[in-house]
């Protein structure tokens, strides 16, 4: 039958429908028969089994939290471990009046009155038979106080749990981060099934970034409970049916940090608002990561009270602020080796071209001079000597010739102005300015214009330019490595606790910094070598008598702009928070670099070579020398250097 002449056949359709309806009815009967037979299976055949589970005794599933992975330094020294502690847990269905109970516990001083609404909010989201922690890490005194009154609080119990413990307290805290109680925000991020029974989660640093490695998976055990929900003794046969699945412990992490170097750096920086970071140029491994002042992460694992928290956040020295990756400073003269490479790459000068420095740079048509740091000037300087003496006039000149955009494009290759991609959160990207950036950054048309004068300050790492200490160390490592770059990292290997297997993580290479003539590296590195070794080098004092050769560059970052024509005030006359920052970058051994370091001391009483360079020297010494060499050198030096292991409580 051709399709075009089909017409409606009402009777046929009616019959077709009835036929289909009958089939549908039959299928329905079969489907519901299936359900009923399932019911017979559950309620008749397996009745005893389910009745066992339900009537009289019930099975409760109790989660077993996994052990959190350890955090170790590169040599296996523990930095974050787990320690037993006691916590207070409340089970909703066993508490008659939750308000009265919480108020009662607050009255005996175990929780704060202010914390009760938060605790209640947390309780609301939990199953009625879950034991919810309401106070972590009870002290001996608190334990005793609760034990004496426990009969007043049915449904509230003391449970031993493992909690996070940082044996070295403040050391490396900004790299490791810390753990704290799981918050509402954390709950959105985490797979809560794996966190049944877990009270703490990583909040910052490696603890946060590697949470999925460290945490592991919760296990569970079935418990027999009576009608009131209390756990009862297991009786013979029934116990055999109870299941238990062991939790899967989290993985241990080996950091790249060398605790010996870390500790030496911390001691050298103690008492300052400062940061230091050391990188292995060959793979991006971070050897030391220091931001001072620091704080004790154990406080967070225990749970901070509000005053304690405020004391930390309102401290004017900002101990929680991670200066290594979040502090942005004008890099000052530490950018000069990169600036020299940029000039060579762009064909502005040759290494042998020399400039006569009279102590000030004048731009045609501008009456205001740009002064050199050295009032009389440096006389004739070629590129290498310009780096070694940190001649500002030389760099004013090449920056002016290059223009800001060429500087921007070249310094980008060293990671300036970009996130380095370090494996912990919170990094800032500093600022590598360009004409385009200025257009976007300012609302007013007049302010959007890039002036040649802006470029001149960039030549010595001032003006709009800023960088983090990590970026400076990374750029220094790139120079040491002659262009080859690696993403900085804090974790070098992961150990599976169950199998003991250690997986080394591969360093991740970044696009290299490019030079047309490899000889350019020799000029830049040669200049940095002269900084530390030539008679006219700015840092020769701090690097004298080293058992290896250092290449470095000092820098001073202006905080307070002194009008160029005003006579420079002595640093000491300025208020402390307006004093300049002292910077020093270095790598060593100069001929085969194994470590690159950046040190920034905020508002230092002296410049980079006087104040930051000795700290960098100490870090290099501890990393490169054997303990015997170090001891011998310390003995020779005068005045006596800080003892390798300070007595506790000793400060400046």
């Amino acid at each position: 039958m051709p399709r075009s002449v089909r017409i409606k056949d009402h009777l046929g359709e009616q019959q077709l429908f009835e036929q289909r309806a009958v089939v549908a009815a039959v299928i329905m009967v079969i489907a519901m028969g299936l359900v009923i037979s399932r019911l017979v299976w559950l309620q008749v055949v397996k009745y005893e089994y389910f009745a066992d589970l339900s009537q009289g005794n019930r099975i409760r599933i109790e989660p077993i939290p996994p052990n959190r992975g350890l955090i170790l330094d590169r040599n296996g020294l523990p930095l974050a471990t787990n320690a037993p502690s006691y916590q207070l847990e409340l089970t909703k269905e066993q508490v008659e009046d939750i308000d009265a109970t919480l108020n009662g516990i607050a009255e005996i001083g175990l929780i704060e009155k202010d914390a009760i609404p938060t605790i209640k909010r947390d309780l609301r989201g939990r199953r009625s038979f879950d034991a919810v922690p309401i106070k972590l890490q009870l002290s001996e005194l608190e334990l005793a106080r609760f034990a004496a009154r426990r009969h007043q609080f049915p449904g509230v119990e003391i449970r031993p749990r493992l909690t996070r413990y940082y044996p070295l307290a403040e050391s490396s805290v900004h790299a490791i981060g810390y753990v704290g109680a799981i918050s509402e925000d954390d709950k959105k991020r985490l797979n809560l099934d794996d966190y049944a029974g877990t009270t703490l989660t990583g909040k910052n640093g490696v603890e946060y970034a590697y949470e999925s490695q460290l945490h592991g998976k919760a296990g569970y055990q079935q418990l027999l409970v009576n009608a009131q929900g209390r756990s009862v003794e297991r009786i013979g046969d029934e116990a055999a049916k109870l299941e238990r699945r062991e939790p899967v412990a989290g993985n241990d992490l080996f950091l790249t940090i060398d605790q010996r170097v870390q500790q030496a750096a911390e001691e050298a920086l103690r008492g300052q608002r400062a940061s230091a970071v050391a990188i292995d140029p060959a793979n991006g491994d971070i050897i030391a990561f220091v931001s001072t002042p620091a704080f004790d992460p154990n406080l967070f694992a225990r749970g901070l009270s509000r005053p304690e928290y405020l004391a930390l956040t309102e401290d004017p020295n900002r101990p929680m602020y991670d200066r290594v990756i979040r502090g942005v400073y004008p890099p000052g003269s530490t950018v000069k080796p990169m600036m020299a490479l940029a000039a060579l790459e762009n064909g502005i000068v040759t290494p042998a071209n020399s400039v006569f420095c009279r102590g000030a740079y004048r731009m045609p048509g501008v009456s205001r001079p740009w002064r050199d740091w050295k009032p009389g000037g440096h006389g004739h300087v070629d590129m290498r000597k310009a780096i070694a003496t940190s001649c500002d006039v030389y760099f004013y000149d090449i920056a002016n010739q290059m223009g800001v955009d060429r500087i921007h494009d070249y310094l980008s290759q060293f990671g300036m102005g970009q996130l380095t991609g370090i494996d912990i959160p919170g990094e800032k990207n500093g600022l590598l300015p360009s004409t385009e950036w200025k257009k976007k950054a300012f609302r007013r048309k007049e302010a959007q214009m890039w002036f040649p004068g802006d470029t001149i300050s960039i030549g010595i790492g001032q003006g709009y330019m800023t960088a983090t200490p990590l970026q400076l160390a990374h750029a220094t490592a790139t120079i040491a490595n002659r262009g080859q770059r690696f993403k900085p990292r804090l974790v070098r290997a992961v150990r599976n606790v169950t199998t003991g297997e250690i997986t080394e993580l591969k360093p991740s290479a970044l696009p290299s910094a490019h030079v047309n003539d490899p000889g350019a590296w020799d000029v830049a590195i040669g200049g940095m070598y002269d900084v530390a070794n030539a008679s006219y080098g700015t840092a020769r004092g701090a690097t004298a008598n080293a058992l290896y050769k250092i290449a470095g560059k000092s820098g001073t970052a202006q905080v307070f702009t002194v009008a160029a024509n005003e006579k420079m005030k002595k640093a000491g006359e300025l208020a402390e928070h307006l004093r300049d920052h002292a910077l020093f970058v270095a790598f060593a051994p100069a001929e085969a670099p194994r470590i690159a370091v950046a040190v920034v001391v905020e508002n230092a009483p002296g410049g980079g070579s006087a104040f930051a360079a000795p700290i960098a020297r100490r870090i290099l010494d501890v990393y490169l020398l054997t303990p015997e060499q170090l001891a011998e050198q310390d003995a020779k030096r005068k005045p006596a250097p800080p003892a390798p292991v300070p007595r506790p409580g000793e400060t400046e």
Binding site: K8, E13, L16, A31, L39, V40, F50, A51, E93
Partner: protein, 379 residues
């Protein structure tokens, strides 16, 4: 036709006053009584499931009353108007769905609600009725069994809203909307060879949906269905506790308000999607079979009524509504007993919850209008 006329004139002679009223209101007596019985059972069970909450009981009874009014009112609308309104309702529903996709409120992690200022509702509920009605409207004046072109048009009309709803994500409603449209096509006499090819097509579609469409939590539910013990703290918890509740109820149950699984709150979602397990624990196999038979009577009666309807549109639309109700019942009882994965489908008239109840009642109102015995002049 003549048999029908004769039939009704013969019965008319013996009608009582009440029956006469029901007939005038186009209400089918047996179906009406069965629905009221289901509603009453629902109210009794809900009171226990909610931990003896009078507030919830009141709210549920109020909705049931509202639903009855909606049903009676819709039964008065002439079939012609329902038929002409079907495509309009479909288009409005689709527009609202799209609106919700871009602007809707997010409640409980899913984007389903549309806030009109005075009332918040889920446009997907409209589609539960609009999709089968629109499909029936499209097919009713074309020759049946449907041609391939008609099938493609209808298929597209079903798939679009289904995918949008599944993405909200509301797998349960998507399933019911797809079932509503699919039932129309099946009842229209879809050839067996097409049925077989659709079944063959379902395999790649299911794989595709698994890979691109389903949200993680939906996949997790399906995986857990296959092995509830794999995740006893997470999504497996529902299935395990529900089976314990039903199984421990035995043949006669533990007695009203005496189910320990229910009263000690071991059973999750006991007043909503898992209320069937409450019946199982407290009333046992007897209670469950009673509920199932009651619901099967409703389905059977509705299917019978649709077979007596006078025109193709009425037959297809009402038949589909009856069978969709059956899908509701099967999917819910199947998931609670562990036969099917957990998708959010409530047990009609018994689970606590407003929108679904009103939509269902509206559906039965439409069915009664379409299948009412009318004087021949009304055509």
């Amino acid at each position: 036709m003549s048999v029908d006329a004769l039939d009704s004139s013969r019965t008319q002679r013996t009608l009582t006053g009440t029956a006469r009223l029901l007939l005038a209101l186009h209400i089918d007596g047996p179906l009406f009584i069965a629905l009221c019985m289901v509603g009453a059972v629902g109210a009794i069970v809900l009171f226990s499931a909610s931990g003896s909450s009078l507030g919830m009981l009141e709210a549920q009874l109020m909705r049931f009353g509202l639903g009855l009014i909606a049903m009676i009112m819709l039964a008065q609308v002439p079939p012609r108007i329902i038929r002409n309104a079907a495509p309009v309702a479909y288009v409005i529903g689709l527009v609202l769905l799209l609106l919700v996709m871009f602007t809707g409120d997010i409640a409980m992690g899913a984007q389903r609600w549309l806030d009109l200022g005075f009332v918040r509702f889920q446009p997907s509920e409209i589609m539960k009725l609009a999709v089968p009605l629109a499909c029936a409207w499209y097919l009713h004046e074309r020759p049946l069994p449907p041609s391939l072109t008609s099938l493609l048009v209808v298929g597209l009309g079903i798939v679009i809203p289904t995918v949008i709803i599944a993405e909200q994500p509301d797998l349960g409603t998507a399933l019911l909307v797809a079932a509503g449209g699919g039932m129309v096509v099946l009842l229209a006499g879809l050839q067996v060879r097409y049925i077989l090819s659709v079944v063959a097509l379902l395999v790649p579609v299911a794989v595709g949906a698994w890979m691109f469409l389903l949200h993680d939590y939906q996949k997790q539910r399906v995986l857990t269905f296959l092995d509830p013990q794999s995740d006893p703290l997470g999504s497996g918890y529902h299935i395990i506790q529900s089976q314990i509740a039903i199984g421990s109820g035995g043949v006669f149950g533990k007695g009203y308000l005496n189910g320990s699984q229910v009263q000690l709150e071991f059973l999750p979602e006991r007043s909503t999607d898992f209320i069937f397990a409450v019946v199982g624990e407290e009333w046992g196999l007897m209670g469950l079979v009673t509920v199932i038979l009651l619901l099967m009577f409703v389905i059977g009666r509705a299917l019978y009524l649709s077979a007596t309807a006078h025109d193709t549109f009425s037959r297809l639309a009402s038949g589909s509504l009856a069978l969709t109700f059956c899908v509701y019942v099967f999917v819910n009882t199947g998931m609670v007993t562990g036969l099917l994965p957990v998708v959010g489908v409530p047990l009609p008239f018994i689970s606590y919850g407003g929108t679904a109840m009103v939509t269902l009642m509206a559906g039965f109102g439409i069915l009664m209008s379409l299948c009412a015995k009318r004087k021949l002049v009304s055509r």
